[in-house]
């Protein structure tokens, strides 16, 4: 989005260097681009070192904690961790936990968004402000009381309780976004469907939802990525090894060794990061560039 104007501005030398426009763009431009690019490349390099280590170490059977080119490339690290206990079950658990939570969040958010978007009420504004307030609350802070509560009602170490809680943590922002997306679907379209004999539920399903589908997909992917990366919630609420998702599985697996096997750690990290990265790529492609997201925070 932001790219288009910036692209033109970034090439002062390319088009008509001596024109009034170019000289108006001003001092500093001549030596500017070189310096700017150098600074950007330096930042990119700093960012790259840890990421590069992740990829190289994963394929290096004798990897250490330091970045180095593998003497011999192999998939031994992956072979070592691709077992049911270490990788497959935690990944599947994570998929179930985050997948079901995401579906639950989206269903509740869409249902809630409809009355909030289509009817008027004095209670609407305070309700929406409360929802927005909830989006800011640090979930980390309530994990200790949630644990206490879950122990008392026997929900600890159950998927039922954990899924309901994870869905709830993602719900405030999902309601807020779904409501805004629904607002942008003109009510006239729906009214036309009613005239043709459709009920409110049919109008929602056949007219409103298809139109807000791209927006909802974005919210769903975002919710899933957020939950997939969440460590603290399953770490506190799930106890038995068989229940742990990948985010906690990676921690418990490598915490049991005094000496870290770096190659395997990197390989596991790579596998565990993959779904989040792929989903993000799908997301940014759908939006034609990552920049659209940030637009968000203006309110």
């Amino acid at each position: 989005m932001s790219a288009a104007p910036a692209v033109q501005a970034s090439r002062p030398g390319a088009a008509g260097a001596g024109t009034a426009v170019a000289s108006r763009r001003g001092r500093g431009r001549e030596r500017g681009p070189g310096l700017v690019n150098a600074a950007l490349l330096f930042v990119a390099l700093c960012y790259l070192v840890p990421l590069l280590w992740l990829v190289l170490a994963a394929f290096d059977p004798s990897a250490g904690p330091s970045l180095s080119w593998p003497a011999r490339w192999s998939v031994d690290n992956f072979r070592a961790i691709l077992t049911e206990d270490i990788t497959f079950r935690p990944m599947l658990n994570g998929l179930v936990l985050c997948g079901v939570s995401t579906v639950l969040t989206m269903v509740c958010a869409v249902l809630a968004a409809y009355p909030l978007s289509r009817y008027r009420s004095r209670l609407k504004r305070p309700f929406l402000l409360t929802v927005l307030f909830m989006t800011g609350l640090p979930i980390t802070a309530i994990m200790v009381p949630v644990y206490g509560m879950f122990v008392q009602v026997n929900l600890i170490d159950t998927y039922f309780g954990t899924i309901l809680f994870m869905a709830t943590t993602a719900l405030p922002i999902a309601i807020w976004l779904a409501k805004n997306f629904m607002d942008s679907v003109p009510a006239e379209l729906e009214e036309a469907a009613w005239t043709d004999g459709a009920s409110r539920a049919q109008g929602l399903r056949r007219v409103v939802l298809p139109l807000m589908w791209p927006g909802l997909a974005v919210v769903a992917l975002y919710t899933f990525i957020g939950l997939w990366g969440n460590f603290f919630v399953p770490f506190v609420l799930l106890l038995s090894n068989d229940n742990l998702p990948a985010s906690v599985g990676i921690y418990t697996f490598f915490a049991q060794y005094a000496q870290v096997v770096y190659g395997q750690l990197a390989a596991y990290s790579l596998l565990y990061s993959l779904p989040a990265v792929l989903l993000y790529l799908a997301l940014s492609r759908r939006l034609g560039g990552a920049f659209t997201f940030g637009g968000g925070v203006k309110g």
């Binding site: 001092r27 927005l132 309530i142 200790v144 509560m149 919710t223 957020g226």
Partner: protein, 304 residues
């Protein structure tokens, strides 16, 4: 992930007034309200209540109302004071200074950068953001470790090896959090900058303003709402960081990177003081609540 607060800003004009919300019509709200009431409001109320008891993790049968004892214990404990300081340091250094300033700098530089360089920078910066926090924690503990990349690099330029994880762990986790979180600020500021009208900036240049003057007098003031919103959001995100610090240092050595979330966790689960732990959680929740309220005000939803 609290990021995307917007979508469809422009509300379409309606010809008819919408119908009034009746209890029957409000029924679809029920599942969401029920979840929020039970799993968000419930724990908060439970938190407020149990913060005033001496509830323990084990032998849970008996507990007593102890008034403000947990809070007195917190405010008189050196460990608590220390964890507040570490939380402040972590928030100020990694979010308010690190992510915010670096994110702004990147967004500004990207406008003038080469197309390929821009794509490269946004890929790696966003890549670091998408990587799950536990993975980020492992990457950085490998990087800072005795035989890690940092010491390798320092050795190349002839500097003495460092062990930040041991000497200044809070700085190490702050750097890791800058690495992980800057993408958010960068995206916010890139989007905001794309809406600053070009002609205003150009007019300033015509009037003789240099790059720095233009930035301070024109660009930054026009971004002040985005800056306020961004600061609130990254502060809230940073206040609740747990996994990153836990995988890197576990709060150690000798509690030198124990921020409030880790302190509350340790007290509740490792020392079985659930009551005291929830009191700490309540304090953190209050701080978060205050920031969240300020955030609501900066959004200024009031008018419509």
């Amino acid at each position: 992930m609290t990021s995307v607060v917007t979508a469809g800003a422009g509300r379409p004009a309606r010809r008819h007034d919408p119908a009034a919300l009746t209890p029957m019509r409000g029924l679809p709200l029920a599942p969401a309200v029920a979840l929020l009431a039970v799993f968000l409001l419930g724990p908060i109320l439970y938190c407020i209540w149990s913060a005033f008891t001496d509830m323990a993790l084990t032998g849970a049968s008996g507990y007593h109302f102890v008034g403000f004892a947990n809070f007195t214990q917190a405010f008189t404990s050196a460990e608590f004071g220390q964890s507040v300081l570490y939380t402040l340091f972590f928030t100020v250094v990694s979010a308010i200074i690190g992510q915010n300033v670096l994110g702004m700098a990147l967004a500004l530089l990207m406008r003038a950068g080469n197309r390929v360089v821009r794509a490269l920078v946004s890929t790696v910066v966003i890549g670091a953001w998408v990587v799950p926090e536990v993975v980020a924690g492992y990457l950085w503990s490998a990087f800072f470790g005795t035989d890690g990349s940092l010491n390798h690099l320092l050795g190349l330029v002839g500097l003495a090896p460092q062990n930040l994880l041991y000497t200044t762990p809070i700085l190490a986790v702050s750097i890791a959090n800058i690495w992980r979180g800057t993408a958010f600020s960068m995206l916010v500021y890139s989007a905001a900058l794309s809406e600053v009208p070009k002609d205003i900036e150009e007019a300033a240049v015509v009037d003789g303003a240099g790059t720095w003057r233009k930035l301070v007098s024109i660009t930054l003031p026009m971004l002040r709402r985005s800056i306020a919103t961004n600061l609130m959001l990254i502060t809230l995100q940073t206040l609740s960081v747990f996994g990153l610090i836990w995988t890197m240092t576990k709060g150690g050595p000798s509690n030198k990177s124990t921020t409030l979330p880790l302190y509350a966790y340790q007290q509740a689960f490792q020392f079985s003081q659930l009551g005291y732990g929830t009191a700490l959680a309540l304090l953190l929740l209050l701080v978060g609540g205050v920031f969240s309220l300020i955030y609501l005000r900066t959004l200024r939803l009031g008018e419509s």
